[in-house]
Symmetry: C2
Subunit: 287 residues, 2 copies
């Protein structure tokens, strides 16, 4: 195997010092492991654009609001290392929880506004925990570019704002969501779905598609867009829509009227599994 | 004048890129201007230890809890530039408020625990605002070493923890407090004192000295130490002790018994001016 697995911050820094010193472009792909085609797209993009590609695999306890969700989060390190190797990554950084948090952190990132709506309303502390570990990874790797999936739209908006607010010397690249043939966004959580749930999961993408069609047809009232989307969610006990909103792509706050491009984002519970997805929608010009 | 004044982040980065590329050691001295002998000691220390010395002058609105205190904070940029030039600094970075905060930040540093006691109790939001701007300056300058005065003991403890918690690739150096002949710690705020207040200001250092003497004589009860200190504060309407506590040097939390080295820190109002100071004290070994 060509890819190098590194477990400590000191060893990672030593490994990257030479690359940095010689002006090489370092790309970072932060993940929680259980890598799938979505992550593969991020890694492949980093491989194209950078000299050194660092994939990090760390299931960050700080961003889980529920212990059972953390416990249940899939782990598959051997397969992850294989995939990174095949995609030509240089380093996979796999720190332990004590390596990342030798003591309970006293200084953390606070997210105001951007993290309040959508997922933030249902996962208290999630985005602060995510932003904190991402800031740590930025400091540890000191990459030139970091790659994030557009599937986690609110996460991406917050990471962009984190970098801007703190002047982190790094470029953020958002990469388009990878979907299955039936439109379902690829996610580590899909593997929790049984066959029937997997079929029900298509409802989220269909609802988002209906929202997009309504917006492109000129519906400017978010309530109307929402109604068009919700009509696509089947009346089934195993399915529950948590939220579905048209939001401003920068602030991630719901818009009162759809006059500019928006992101329509939704979260759907299918059985015990929570799925999220989003689409960008551009309304017709005002006549 | 040899020292270069730079006002924008982009220009500062361009100026430092060459130094960084050639492996030069960059030292950062973050200040709010109105430089005095205390700052001069920091700059001189950076000059000794680093190839490039960057002094930043920015009165950070985020760390002022009161508008009148921000308004009243002394500014003296021409004199600051002169001093930096004489001390051999390479760059003085003087960003505007809009350069540092083009928009109200959505991502900020939250400080838990370390910032609750002492000054934190009386200046809500102060340490979060300080930590936020310091983190920004770390990202902007990307220094190898940053210098902070021990006079602001709680600030120094928080900055050390900030760097540890986020793995910022930077060394923090704490520099001993510089004092006037009568023991008063040098501070930008001393210039607000009239002659009589300046005389009264000596009470803080005397109180801390009494606390140290009590600890070195074997007083292990913080209440006893406090009583010894407070006996040195004159009964004068113009003087009010805000706090005086023996705290753990890492956590900055009051200790129940003095068995290890502590910091005794105090804040004294003299007229309209708030002064802070602290001393390190080592108790005799337990027999």
């Amino acid at each position: 195997m060509r890819v190098e697995r590194i477990d400590t911050i000191a060893a990672l820094r030593a490994r990257l010092a030479a690359a940095r010193g010689s002006g090489k472009r370092i790309g970072l792909v932060p993940t929680m492991g259980a890598l799938h085609k979505g992550h593969a797209t991020l890694i492949a993009r980093a491989r194209e654009e950078c000299d050194s590609v660092v994939v990090t695999v760390f299931v960050n306890p700080l961003q889980f609001d529920r212990a059972d969700d953390l416990e249940r989060y899939p782990r598959a390190l051997d397969a992850d290392l294989d995939l990174c190797d095949r995609l030509g990554a240089d380093v996979v950084f796999v720190p332990s929880t004590t390596e990342m948090y030798p003591a309970s952190p006293r200084c953390t990132i606070q997210v105001t506004g951007l993290g309040d709506e959508l997922c933030g309303r249902y996962r208290p502390g999630h985005f602060a925990g995510m932003a904190t570990v991402v800031m740590k990874l930025f400091q540890i790797v000191q990459a030139d570019v970091a790659y994030f999936g557009e599937k986690d739209a609110q996460q991406l908006a917050i990471v962009r704002r984190l970098v801007a607010d703190f002047n982190v010397p790094l470029t953020i690249v958002g990469v388009e969501t990878v979907r299955e043939a039936d439109g379902v966004a690829i996610s580590s959580r899909n593997q929790h779905l049984d066959r029937c749930e997997r079929q029900l999961a298509t409802a989220l993408y269909q609802a988002l598609g209906a929202a997009r069609a309504a917006i492109e047809a000129g519906t400017r009232d978010p309530g109307g867009v929402r109604a068009a989307a919700i009509a696509r969610i089947p009346a089934d006990d195993r399915v529950r829509l948590e939220y579905l909103e048209a939001v401003d792509p920068d602030s991630m706050e719901p818009v009162p009227q759809i006059l500019q491009p928006v992101i329509v984002a939704g979260a759907l519970w299918v059985g015990r599994t929570r799925l999220i997805d989003n689409v960008r929608c551009t309304p017709p010009p005002l006549s």
